[in-house]
């Protein structure tokens, strides 16, 4: 049995589906206890549905089948009091928090040239993708620093490393998250709290994880749903899309003590996309 995260308590945001679900189940398989967080409601201004409570419960069930103790929490990372409540509940239920995976994020509203992006579109993107990780970090950081240990894993994107046409707000938010990662890593380094980022490339929307981000990105740039996988693959040096499990594997490593001297690092899991 694998026990790379034995005894660790991990909070995963955006756990209802996609990469969040893959991270949650990978952590459960490595013996972590889990606090699964999702907004489980749609967000005004985001042109596609968020995960449902049923999807969050399904992730929880998958984790429990792996033997993990699980606490689910419906919370909005845009709200500071929600972030604090999650942290408080996690500590009441599991005694402490060892790992925070800031996975919740949105890909749209996107698809416009920069000067056409509205105030609201810009704001919601920043609020979720950059403000969310900052609020969650704020909610757990002090306790981790007091305990002299912890690992924060920010799920950024290749959009945190390079630009994408017609994705200004998204790219800016993910670049911002990479910046937050590096700054927080330095702030927390003396306390042995580590902060790292994973930058996934184009992740396939798998049925098991019910991912839909690639479809949304495709839709926002006008690619037909039936064609979008093929369209993205042509961009990939390895001629294959990234799987959510590939991203989860990097998160497991960063969450575990195996990476105890890695902080402020930005790890690409993109099939070589950003290497060009």
């Amino acid at each position: 049995m694998s026990d790379r995260l034995a005894g660790k308590v991990a909070v995963v945001t955006g756990a209802g589906r996609g990469i969040g679900r893959a991270v949650a189940t990978a952590f459960a398989a490595q013996q972590a206890a889990l606090v699964l967080v999702d907004i489980a409601a749609d967000i005004t201004g985001v042109p596609y549905p968020m995960a449902s409570t049923s999807q969050l419960d399904h992730t929880a069930r998958m984790c429990r089948e792996l033997g993990a103790p699980v606490l689910t929490a419906v919370a909005d990372v845009r709200a500071a009091q929600d972030a604090e409540r999650v942290a408080e509940q996690a500590v009441e239920r599991f005694g402490r928090i060892d790992v925070l995976v800031n996975n919740a994020g949105v890909a749209g509203p996107s698809g416009k040239i920069v000067h056409e992006v509205t105030e609201d579109e810009w704001a919601v993107m920043m609020d979720v993708n950059l403000g969310g990780p900052w609020r969650m970090t704020k909610a757990v950081g002090a306790a981790m620093a007091d305990r002299r240990g912890g690992s924060i894993v920010n799920i950024a994107s290749t959009a945190g490393l390079v630009g994408y046409r017609n994705f200004a707000a998204y790219v800016a938010s993910k670049h911002g998250l990479v910046g937050l990662t590096r700054a927080a890593a330095l702030d927390y380094a003396p306390y042995r709290v580590r902060v790292n980022a994973v930058c996934p490339g184009s992740v396939r929307d798998a049925e098991a994880t019910e991912g839909r981000m690639l479809a949304e990105i495709g839709r926002s740039i006008g690619i037909e749903p039936a064609d979008h996988e093929a369209a993205f693959i042509t961009q990939q040096p390895m001629n294959a899309l990234v799987e959510a499990e590939d991203v989860a594997a990097a998160a497991v490593w960063l969450a575990s003590d195996e990476s105890r001297r890695a902080t402020g690092s930005v790890i690409s899991v993109d099939g070589g996309y950003s290497a060009r």
Binding site: D3, A6, G7, K8, Q31, A33, R61, R64, E65, G67, P69, V70, L71, V91, E92, R93, F94, G95, R96, D98, A143, R147, R148, G149, R192, D257, R260
Partner: protein
């Protein structure tokens, strides 16, 4: 995570304990909550002051499944945060089959064990069970126990309860191995830097009732186990009894008491241990709870104790007996050791509680019979005895018959073939007979190392006599003593050699005369008249004390030695051996007869070549030697030459013997000579056991790990480790190495008393044993760790110190190639008694090595001096010659750090510093500055006291404590000035 080695099992405040209770059918979360709410109204302190909060969580499996079992266990390990709103966490696990468990976890400091029970009773309405009463309730709890805890061995109906309350089953009655549930890492505290967190396993004590008496017996038993198996100087046992009181004790060794007296004494108060050890591996804990748990309880998890290498928690099992959890830190106490301690505990507590009460404590066995057998088997290597035992000379004759023209000996330009060798020896045998030598007579051989010496040795054996080798380089007194002690009527000597004077008139027979007598004798040797059990040689060993004693070794042993090793080492006619060691040192028995019995070629190394590593290496290269036998000290010199200029390419086997090997030192050897081309074998042995006892092929891994293992017994030999009462010790415990098997010498010559003391019969199994006087420890793989001579332990200022231990630490420094540590002093002056270390350095300065050692050795073990030497002097036998070491350097005074005005205040003179410095110089006998460290200057507690007295005479008041604490004259003077309320000297 943090890299500091833990001083606590609980680095993040998770000192929690918990219970799992099976919820009665029909009780759901709402009912639980309601019941708790009512109870909380009646007793607001029920939950330790926290609010009522019940977490409900589904479990994806039936209550009896493995997943449910894991889930319960994990829930118990989830800590309650100190910062949380409540010190209690209540979780309802809801299984797929409708069964529920209530898990109550609490911070142990806020809610005790009875508190835990009270919460469950309040939530579930259960009452504490009443032991193993055969009521329906008890039956139920038993079932629940099986579901949850599965502590009872076997899968039978109900728990195994053997007859006899208070008496653990008699030895042999059923499996006595404690039934162990799991050995999973405990994830409720994070691991150390290497991920090695605490681990645990549980075991059952079904026959001990939950009572104060059992608690006392368990404490007695564990104390006895630790006293027998641990280093008594360093071990502490913390015991928390049912009353919650904690006592710390250093496991004692008064084993003269009877069992009854010991148990009675244990009931009284225990003095607390004065000095807790700093190593977790030496600190043990025992907690015994006797409160009977609630009937619904299916599992309990006790709170961890802090800073213990091994902590045992004992509590009622709800079935009238006890169950226990052993928690250990694998980095301090490896799993096998933790399990061994538990096994001994279970056995000894049964012996104490159920055995003969009038028996002396010393007679209570630590090991159960099964383990005893296992330990003995571990030290024994089967095999050997395949070849027919035959006298040595017959084995050589067989070789000569098989390959008469094969070269047996090379001595300079001379070569002697096998047939030639046996012919010449045969003729000599006749000559010896004509001198009156009869079978089983002892014949002295005192010759320079030449091919002739081998011929004479073989001739002596062919005459049926026993050879007694005498080294002509030895002092005459010693030669005379040996000849007298062995009752030698004939000693073969070199023509005109001075050594002949050592022997009585008519005893010394010059080799030339013997040769002339042999000239016309037949080459076919006479009937030797001896068999394999007759003595082949008597070799005198000096030991570290007392006069030399002759060790009588039969022919059979040498045959067995080659039988045990020839196949493994691949020894055969293709090999070329060197004969390096004096015939009076038994390593030569291996060299000479090892080569000749296996048909190899033996190259004689002249005495002066032995003393010159360059010449010796030339010889090895020239003669294409394949098998080299060396003491590690002698080999080190050869190794120096091979570094970067590997010429010994024909060597395929290096055998070390005679001295402890410092495996680390072999790294450069392996760089030049990979293990795949030249095998390196370390052998431990003693003259009394026929050269060798154990063998270990040394690899780079061993060198990197600086292994002290000398390997397993060679086939036919066996080793065991016994304590000072001759009782068998388990693996891991240090004691005296005892050897049995094919290599045991017959006896000491003319020393029946000594023979009876050292060659003993084991009271248990009747095995003949040789008590070696060497300290060692059996490893779990059957390897033996050699820890030096028992008498290398010295006592210095009240501390017992192992010189070998210090030496080992010094050798741990990369630049130290060899080291020796001796107890030195100015004659007649005890306070100057100190440890003198000598090191052969490669690139570091002594101060660096001193600093390194200071980081690893306790202050009382720090050598007072550290003297670099170009090489360590060796004795005739190639071992370190302690007497030949030079006078030690003065204790090192460290240079003041750059820019430190070390001498500036001194110039002022008016302050205490001048006085203090003067006192230091007088007492320490060395020049020093204000910044020199007291200990670097060779300081110790007595010298500190002298300084204090000297200063008091001069009106400067300081205490010994300040000398220790402040450590430099500068700081001490400053302190004295402040204390005297004099103005501090302006710096």
């Amino acid at each position: 995570m943090s890299a500091h080695t833990g001083t606590s099992d609980d680095p993040i405040g998770t000192a929690c304990h918990g219970d799992v209770h099976r919820v009665p059918a029909g009780t759901d979360a709402r009912a639980c909550r309601r019941a708790l709410s009512e109870a909380l109204d009646a007793d607001p302190r029920l939950l330790g002051g926290g609010p009522l909060r019940l977490w409900c969580e589904p479990v994806a499996g039936p209550s009896g499944g493995a997943l449910a079992d894991r889930r319960r266990d994990r829930e118990l390990r989830i800590p309650v945060a100190e910062s949380g709103t409540s010190p209690v966490r209540l979780t309802l696990l809801e299984y797929e089959d409708g069964v529920r468990d209530l898990v109550v976890v609490a911070r142990s400091a806020r809610v005790g064990r009875t508190g835990l029970t009270a919460i469950a009773v309040a939530a579930l309405g259960a009452e504490p069970s009443c032991g193993a009463a055969a009521s329906g309730d008890a039956e139920e709890s038993r079932d629940a126990g099986r579901v949850g805890d599965a502590v009872a061995p076997g899968g039978g109906d109900g728990p195994t309860v053997s007859a006899g309350r208070g008496g653990v089953a008699a030895p042999g009655a059923g499996p006595r191995t404690p039934s162990i549930r799991s050995a999973t890492g405990s994830p409720d505290s994070p691991g150390d830097a290497h991920g090695a967190g605490p681990a645990e396993f549980s075991f059952a004590l079904p026959d001990l009732p939950p009572s104060a008496g059992s608690a006392r017996d368990l404490a007695c038993a564990l104390e006895l186990v630790l006293a027998r198996t641990c280093d008594e100087r360093r071990t502490v046992l913390d015991v928390r009894g049912p009353d919650g009181r904690v006592s710390s004790r250093v496991p004692g060794r008064d084993e003269g008491l009877s069992v009854a007296e010991y148990r009675a004494a244990a009931a009284g108060p225990h003095p607390s241990a004065a000095t807790p050890p700093d190593e977790a591996g030496a600190r043990f804990a025992l907690t015994v709870d006797t409160d009977v748990p609630a009937a619904t309880r299916v599992r309990h998890r006790p709170a961890p104790t802090g800073g213990h290498g091994l902590a045992v928690h004992v509590e009622p099992d709800g079935q009238g007996g006890l169950t226990a959890l052993a928690r250990y830190r694998p980095s301090a106490v490896p799993e096998w050791r933790a399990r061994a301690v538990v096994r001994h505990l279970v056995h000894v507590v049964g012996e104490l509680a159920g055995g003969d009460q009038r028996r002396a404590l010393a007679d209570v066995p630590l090991l159960d019979p099964e383990e005893r057998d296992r330990v003995l088997a571990l030290g024994r290597t089967e095999g050997g005895g395949r070849a027919a035992a035959a006298p040595i000379h017959e084995l050589v004759l067989a070789r000569a018959a098989a390959a008469p023209l094969g070269v047996a000996l090379t001595d300079g330009g001379t070569e002697v073939g096998y047939r030639d060798l046996t012919d010449r020896a045969g003729r000599l045998a006749h000559a010896l007979r004509s001198l009156g030598v009869a079978p089983r007579d002892r014949v002295g051989v005192c010759l320079e190392r030449t091919a002739d010496l081998v011929v004479v040795l073989l001739g002596v054996l062919m005459a049926g006599a026993t050879y007694v080798p005498l080294d002509p380089a030895h002092p005459k007194d010693r030669l005379a003593f040996t000849a007298d002690d062995a009752g030698l009527g004939v000693v073969v000597v070199d023509e005109g050699a001075g050594a002949a004077d050592a022997f009585a008139q008519g005893v010394a027979v010059p080799l030339g005369r013997l040769g002339r007598m042999a000239e016309h004798a037949p080459s076919v040797p006479p009937d030797s008249g001896v068999g394999p059990d007759d003595p082949a040689y008597v070799i005198y060993t000096s030991g570290s004390t007392g006069r030399p004693k002759g060790v009588v070794v039969p022919h059979r042993n040498v045959a067995a030695l080659l039988d045990a090793t020839a196949e493994d080492f691949g020894l055969g006619p293709a090999d070329t051996w060197t004969w390096f060691h004096s015939a009076a040192f038994d390593f030569s028995v291996w060299e000479i007869w090892g080569a000749l019995i296996t048909g190899g070629r033996l190259v004689v190394v002249p005495y002066w070549t032995c003393r010159s590593p360059d010449d010796f290496r030339d010889l090895l290269v020239r003669e294409r030697v394949t098998v080299l036998n060396q003491t590690p000290s002698a080999f080190l010199r050869l190794l120096e030459l091979e570094r970067g200029d590997a010429r010994l390419t024909d060597l395929r086997l290096v055998v070390f013997g005679g001295e402890p090997l410092d495996a680390r030192g072999l790294l450069p050897w392996f760089d030049a000579h990979p293990e795949s081309r030249c095998r390196v074998v370390n052998m431990f042995g003693i003259t009394e056991t026929t050269v060798h006892v154990t063998a270990r092929t040394v690899t780079r891994a061993d060198a990197l790990a600086a292994t002290r293992s000398v390997g397993r017994a060679i086939p036919g030999w066996s080793v065991r480790v016994v304590d000072d009462r001759g009782r068998l010790l388990p693996p891991g415990s240090a004691g005296e190495i005892a050897v049995a098997g094919a290599g045991l010498a017959a006896h000491y010559l003319n020393r029946p008393g000594l023979t009876a003391r050292r060659f003993v019969t084991d009271a248990h199994d009747g095995t003949r044993l040789y008590l070696s006087g060497d300290k060692g420890r059996l490893l779990p793989d059957g390897g033996l760790e050699h820890l030096g001579r028992l008498d290398s332990q010295v006592k210095l200022r009240g501390y017992r110190i192992e010189l070998d231990e210090i030496r080992h630490v010094l050798l741990g420094h990369d630049a130290v190639r060899a080291a020796a540590v001796v107890l030195g002093r100015t004659p007649g002056d005890e306070p100057t008694e100190r440890l003198d270390a000598y090191v052969v350095l490669d690139g570091a300065d002594p101060a660096e090595v001193r600093g390194y050692a200071a980081g690893l050795l306790p202050e009382y073990m720090m050598p007072g001096t550290l003297t670099p030497v170009p090489e360590l002097p060796l004795t005739v036998n190639g071992k370190v010659d302690v007497v030949g070491l030079p006078a030690p350097d003065e204790p090192v005074a460290s240079a003041p750090p750059p820019g430190a005005p070390a001498d500036a205040p001194e110039a002022a003179g008016a302050t205490s510093l001048g006085t203090v410095l003067a006192a230091w110089r007088e007492v320490l006998g060395t020049d020093c500055s204000a910044a020199d460290d007291f200990f670097d200057l060779g300081g110790n507690s007595l010298l500190a006291l002298r300084i204090v007295h000297t200063l008091r005479d001069r009106d400067v008041r300081v205490g010994v404590r300040e000398v220790y604490r402040l450590r430099t004259a500068g700081l001490l003077a400053e302190y004295a000035d402040l204390r005297a309320e004099r103005p501090v000297a302006a710096g």
